[in-house]
């Protein structure tokens, strides 16, 4: 492993996270689409919506993360991929817009028919986006993206057997993951009938996903031999076997209603596919271009890796907190826990409003404003400007404290 390959590991970890977390969000959308009509269907859709509401934004950021790391570490590759695979990337962007918009709209819906219409948009976009992203991967693995600005075909780079196979696989895997997770969520909040329905969906889509995966492997062997063969050879084969084993275990666990364990194995099965891709294609990124030659200069890579490690140190606990809260059911519907409800809010202090901020604060605000103006506008050195900006920020904050807009003399105006 060289320095030039390390960011690739980061990209693959990000992709694995995106497919196992973001992918499940897509899948939840697809199950909404196939729910049908009537009160039962509505409960199913609501469950899918509620389960992912607190986490979908965080899950989605993985895509942005992958893009920016790839962009920084392998700019030539991103330039070539973006200019050749323009169409599927644009479709994925449209899907992202539609999903986000529908998600935001959901909070404004009043009737169930409004909700159904919004959910349908969400769901259709949920199938489009993973397919388009899978097609992008298919174009890359089948070596249809030459180096250069729009050097490949605009159409056959993504309308080809590999792209279709990987695209369909992405859709089916997303649906499978979502069904497993949603069954687990339903079991946690004590909704046996929802659990039963998602369990059936998990088993069905799991079997289908296995079949599609085998089919895709056959397609890749012919159409994308580098990866197709690589998956059957050491070290790619390890990932393949791991994925198959984890997939079968998941089916068994879902069957046995061991949902929380199934969550883990199902994610593992999907993540192993991503890892297998990386191992099989290594070290080639695009035709004739290896990671070593595609990578940005060393200082950039070092800077990037430092940023990623530093960011991970901050981020891991935050993500851990979010998922712990969600998985322990702290955000589940139901009456708020009595210990945390508003009654326990700190009792009002004797004064509803803080005591009048007096003349002194006004003078402080004006003084800071004058000082800041002098330092920022009249003085000409960088340090003076910096102090000036701080003084102006202080003037603004003091200004708000002087006005105390929350404690005006009221009475209808």
């Amino acid at each position: 492993m060289t320095l030039a390959e390390l960011p690739l590991v980061v990209v693959l970890i990000g992709l694995a996270a995106y497919t196992t977390l973001g992918g499940a969000d897509f899948g939840a959308g697809m199950w909404q689409l196939t729910a049908g009509r009537g009160p039962d269907a509505e409960r199913l859709r609501d469950h899918a919506h509620r389960a992912l509401a607190p986490v979908w934004e965080a899950n989605h950021v993985w895509l942005v993360f992958v893009l920016t790391v790839a962009w920084t570490a392998y700019p030539v590759v991103v330039g070539a991929v973006a200019s050749t695979l323009t169409v599927p990337l644009f479709l994925a962007a449209l899907g992202v817009i539609a999903r986000g918009a529908a998600y935001a709209l959901h909070s404004g819906t009043r009737t169930s028919s409004e909700r159904r219409r919004v959910d349908t948009v969400f769901a259709a976009a949920s199938a489009l986006t993973p397919f388009a992203l899978g097609a992008v991967v298919g174009g890359i693995v089948s070596m249809r993206v030459p180096v250069g600005n729009a050097a490949g075909s605009l159409w056959t780079s993504w309308l080809n057997p590999s792209s279709v196979a990987v695209g369909v696989l992405a859709v089916v895997l997303s649906a499978f993951l979502a069904a497993v997770y949603l069954a687990a969520d339903a079991a946690r909040i004590g909704e046996p009938d929802l659990e039963r329905r998602f369990r059936a969906r998990a088993l069905g889509s799991g079997v289908l996903a296995g079949a599609v995966a085998l089919g895709a492997l056959a397609v890749l062997r012919v159409d994308a031999p580098l990866v197709g063969e690589g998956l059957l050879r050491w070290p790619g084969s390890v990932a393949l076997v791991l994925s198959a084993a984890a997939g079968l275990t998941s089916l068994a666990l879902v069957g046995a209603r061991r949902h929380e364990a199934a969550r883990v194995t199902a994610a593992l099965a999907v993540a192993a596919v991503v890892a297998g891709w990386g191992l099989a294609q290594r070290p080639v990124l695009l035709p004739g271009l290896t990671a070593d030659r595609a990578a940005a200069p060393a200082p950039t890579l070092v800077g990037l890796l430092i940023a990623v490690v530093g960011g991970a140190v901050l981020l891991a606990p935050s993500l851990g907190l979010l998922f712990a809260l969600v998985l322990r059911g702290r955000f589940d519907p139901g009456p708020p826990a009595p210990a945390t409800c508003d009654a326990q809010a700190p009792p009002g202090r004797a004064g509803a409003a803080s005591p009048p901020a007096g003349r002194r604060s006004s003078w402080v605000a004006v003084g800071l404003l004058v000082a800041g103006t002098g330092l920022l506008t009249v003085a000409e050195s960088g340090p003076a400007h910096a102090v000036g900006v701080v003084a102006l920020a202080g003037a603004a904050a003091t200004g708000v404290a002087v006005v105390r807009p929350w404690a005006l003399d009221d009475g209808p105006g």
Binding site: E57, V64, A93, L94, L304, L315, R349, A353, V400, V403
Partner: protein, 459 residues
């Protein structure tokens, strides 16, 4: 291969920015407003403060979701439209976006916790979970702006045969003297836009005659924040102008329509740039030299300093600049007036002209914001990376840009309609169905802000 649709590519980029930037202002400043109110609730125990904080947090989350998608589209588009730019310089500026990515992660994680944590987390923990949102808004915008500042004043690399060598990414992004004014100006703009737009909405309901304690609180808080920011923004804008004079003299010349390099250069208000000079404008002699270089006799570089093919579209830049400065000044006047009245009379002005002015201030601040970006981006033309890479060299060679443009334009129009719809729906939820003000739920209920609050309760 050359790109026949360069203009459309630019407009597509501009359209996507114009959709993203106003939204992210709310991602930057709204968390601060919401936290201010929640913090007040902790101090005073007044339910009204919590009700407002909670309702605003819902709006914040909806706008955040749209900001996330417009931002994702931008990232994809940066690569789609300008692959040669990303391929050549991704190694230099990409680090900024990578760090920004972590800010967005933080923001997304804690928005989830904050929004779903009302009633479910202990009050202090809930308040604390909002702080990272505000911090991430600050760091995220800082990182993006560092990239933009680098495009305007590139450094930290050497170019050899079209490949960058000797890259110093940290220096390129953070040791850039162009960064600070841009960042501060944008950060303050976010408070102006958020404050005035929110205040504008409540001013509108006030004009329709609704005047509850809830509406007054919302109007007063949002408006005060915007009002203190507005005069500060004028000072920061002046600072930005001086930085432009120093690092991008041609941009300054097109801001003012200065055709020829001269000593004691004037400023023109209004008018139109034609054949090397401004016609039909009001001339303020020597002002440009004084404002930009602090010396009424100083020599200011004119547009004739560079070959004609390196001159930006002067009238676009100039018009945008004049609109921004004009609106900025008016907003500052409105802000100072409002602050003085609130501080002295301790009540909201009741004059209808004032309320109407607040309604207009919302859209006006958004227009000023977009005009500012037109100044910065169009004023940099024909360069994508100032003095290093021209826009035609950066653009994709792929066909189909007009198709993308048409589709994205339609989609964004739809998204705009959707945003308005959902915000109206959120605003229309009657207050008394909010669990917050349900008196049966216990807690230190008070009648919503009795008129005696100040006199009676001050200890």
């Amino acid at each position: 291969m050359s790109q026949p649709f360069l203009e459309q590519a630019r407009q597509l980029q501009a359209l996507s920015f114009a959709a993203h930037i106003p939204l992210v202002c709310f991602g930057i400043a709204f968390p601060v407003l919401v936290l201010l109110l929640e913090g007040l609730h902790h101090r005073t125990g007044l339910r009204l403060h919590r009700t407002l904080a909670r309702r605003w947090s819902r709006v914040m989350a909806a706008l955040f979701a749209i900001g996330v998608i417009t931002g994702t589209v931008l990232s994809v588009e940066m690569a789609l439209l300008w692959p040669a730019f990303t391929a050549t310089f991704g190694g230099v500026f990409g680090l900024g976006f990578a760090i920004e990515g972590f800010s967005f992660f933080t923001e997304a994680v804690f928005i989830g916790i904050y929004l779903y944590g009302w009633d479910r987390l202990p009050p202090r923990a809930h308040l604390a979970s909002g702080i990272p949102i505000a911090v991430a808004g600050l760091t995220g915008s800082f990182m993006v702006i560092s990239v933009n500042a680098w495009m305007n004043h590139p450094g930290g690399f050497t170019l050899q045969d079209g490949r960058v060598v000797d890259v110093r990414p940290a220096e390129a992004l953070f040791a850039n003297p162009y960064l600070w004014h841009e960042f501060v100006h944008m950060y303050v703009a976010a408070f102006l836009v958020t404050g005035f737009v929110v205040a504008g909405v409540y001013a509108m309901t006030r004009l329709r005659g609704r005047d509850t304690a809830y509406d007054r609180l919302a109007l007063a808080v949002s408006l005060t924040v915007a009002s203190v920011a507005a005069p500060v923004q004028v000072l920061v804008g002046d600072w930005a102008g001086r930085a432009v004079a120093r690092y991008q003299p041609v941009k300054l010349a097109s801001l003012e329509g200065l055709g020829h390099t001269m000593a004691g250069a004037p400023v023109h208000v209004l008018g139109w740039y034609r054949d090397g000079k401004v016609v039909d404008g009001i001339e303020l002699p020597r002002m440009l030299s004084l404002l930009a270089l602090h010396d009424p006799g100083a020599v200011v570089v004119g547009l004739d300093a560079v070959p004609p093919d390196q001159v930006p579209p002067v009238n676009v830049v100039r018009l945008a600049f004049q609109v921004m400065v004009c609106l900025g000044t008016l907003l500052a006047v409105l802000g100072v007036f409002t602050v003085v009245v609130l501080a002295r009379r301790r009540r909201l002005p009741t004059a209808r002209w004032w309320t109407r002015a607040v309604v207009v201030a919302g859209p006006a601040s958004v227009v000023a914001l977009l005009c500012g970006w037109v100044v910065t981006e169009v004023g940099r033309q024909p360069w994508t990376v100032y003095g290093v890479m021209r826009t035609p060299e950066a653009v994709t060679a792929a066909p189909g840009i007009p198709v993308g443009y048409a589709v994205l334009g339609t989609v964004y129009a739809g998204v705009a309609v959707a945003v308005v719809w959902v915000l109206r729906r959120l605003a229309a939820v009657p207050l008394d169905t909010d669990p917050e003000v349900d008196p049966d739920r216990g807690g230190p209920t008070r009648p919503p802000l009795p008129s005696s609050v100040r006199g009676g309760d001050a200890s």
